[in-house]
């Protein structure tokens, strides 16, 4: 069984935020308005956690890209009263928008605060709603949403491979943020396969997971900057 995971090398990350832009474009995340930003209601599936490194006077600021951490033992899925969010067999923590009742229990349970709530109907200026990615639903008000590791790309890739009667090659399924990263800091693949680049990197001594002590076992693994 595959277990999709991701490694983000903070040494290679330049903090350019291209992954965030790619993510928003791929996943139809509405740009949001100044009013929403002011209210603290912007939705960004991929956010950047500001980190200060080093001690004074040698301080460096860094941005740590953070999306849904796709935990193996997600705190959010246990609490959903309607199973709108659940870990699927490939290890992707799913979110089914049409099942969600909008109670925000999952968001409160998530220690990373990387789930988002649609406080208002997402606003698409002019005709931009028609220019969105047809593979991803346009969300509506009153539901929560989050990064799904671009699972629609997995569906596409699987379908293509099956139609051509061959196994899925791991390079066929790559989330948008990985694709956009100019420095190759984000690596994606199957964590179960010991030969894959991602699982090799995950075994690196620099590897750590955010809030590891909570036992949520995220599948987004970071490599400490040295």
């Amino acid at each position: 069984m595959v277990r999709w995971g991701m490694v983000i090398d903070l040494d290679k990350c330049s903090g350019c935020q291209a992954c965030g832009v790619a993510c928003a474009a791929e996943s139809n995340v509405a740009p949001g308005s100044p009013r929403e930003a002011w209210k603290g209601r912007l939705i960004r599936w991929l956010q950047f956690l500001p980190q200060a490194e080093g001690t004074y006077p040698n301080v460096a600021a860094a941005l740590q890209p953070m999306m849904c951490q796709q935990c193996d033992r997600p705190a959010c899925t246990y609490v959903c009263p309607v199973s709108a969010t659940y870990p699927n067999p490939q290890g992707i923590v799913a979110q089914i928008y049409w099942r969600c009742i909008g109670c925000r229990y999952c968001i409160n349970a998530c220690p990373y605060t990387t789930k988002w709530f649609n406080w208002w109907e997402p606003q698409w200026a002019g005709n931009t709603a028609k220019a969105t990615n047809p593979d991803v639903e346009l969300r509506q008000k009153g539901i929560s949403e989050k990064c799904l590791f671009c699972s629609h790309r997995l569906q596409r890739a699987k379908e293509r491979a099956r139609a051509e009667r061959r196994p899925l090659a791991s390079h066929e399924y790559v989330p948008a943020c990985v694709e956009a990263c100019p420095t190759g800091a984000i690596v994606f693949g199957d964590l179960e396969d010991p030969q894959s680049e991602v699982s090799k990197l995950a075994r690196s001594p620099r590897a750590f997971r955010v809030l590891e002590e909570l036992g949520t076992k995220p599948k987004v693994i970071y490599l400490k900057s040295t």
């Binding site: 699927n88 089914i96 639903e137 629609h152 379908e159 099956r162 139609a163």
Partner: protein, 164 residues
């Protein structure tokens, strides 16, 4: 509990069906039956059915190879002739439409799973006119229907496989 669910779901579906019940008037009374009788395959006109997400609605150049003025057979009805002469697309109305939150791919079902078109679309080969409303054998194409078949065929019932 299941029964209550079904009653309420059925009631809701019924209401929505009532609301979307008005028949669409197609521009030409295309006889599916005649074409199938001539050993034409579904995919020769609905070209995307085998290898794309959407089966597609035929364009005018699907008609022109056969419907030619210089041929006595097949007969070209005058309303079709108009479109052919003007090289204008026939304004077919899309009848079957998967909701946006559902990822329904024809390729998955036709090319990968090898399901016959009639399994979902019914007895199209005896229809003497195009679809004017969504029709599926044995009622609506709701999620229950998808799940029933997926269970029977032992394919994935993971929500994320079809919902997005």
């Amino acid at each position: 509990m299941g029964r209550i669910t079904k009653v309420i779901a059925g009631w809701a579906l019924g209401l929505s069906a009532l609301a979307s019940c008005e028949d669409k008037e197609q521009p030409i009374a295309f006889p599916h039956a005649k074409h199938v009788a001539l050993k034409m395959e579904c995919v020769s006109c609905h070209t995307g059915a085998r290898d794309q997400t959407h089966a597609g609605i035929p364009w005018i150049h699907s008609c022109t190879p056969c419907h030619r003025l210089d041929r006595p057979f097949p007969k070209t009805p005058p309303e079709l002739l108009e479109y052919i002469n003007a090289v204008k697309e026939i304004p077919w109305l899309q009848v079957h439409r998967a909701p946006r939150h559902v990822y329904f791919s024809h390729r998955r079902h036709v090319a990968v799973a090898g399901i016959d078109c009639a399994e979902c679309h019914g007895d199209v080969q005896s229809m003497d006119r195009p679809f004017s409303r969504p029709m599926f054998p044995a009622g609506q194409a709701g999620m229950d229907r998808c799940i029933d078949c997926h269970r029977k065929e032992r394919v994935t019932t993971d929500c994320l496989a079809c919902h997005r």
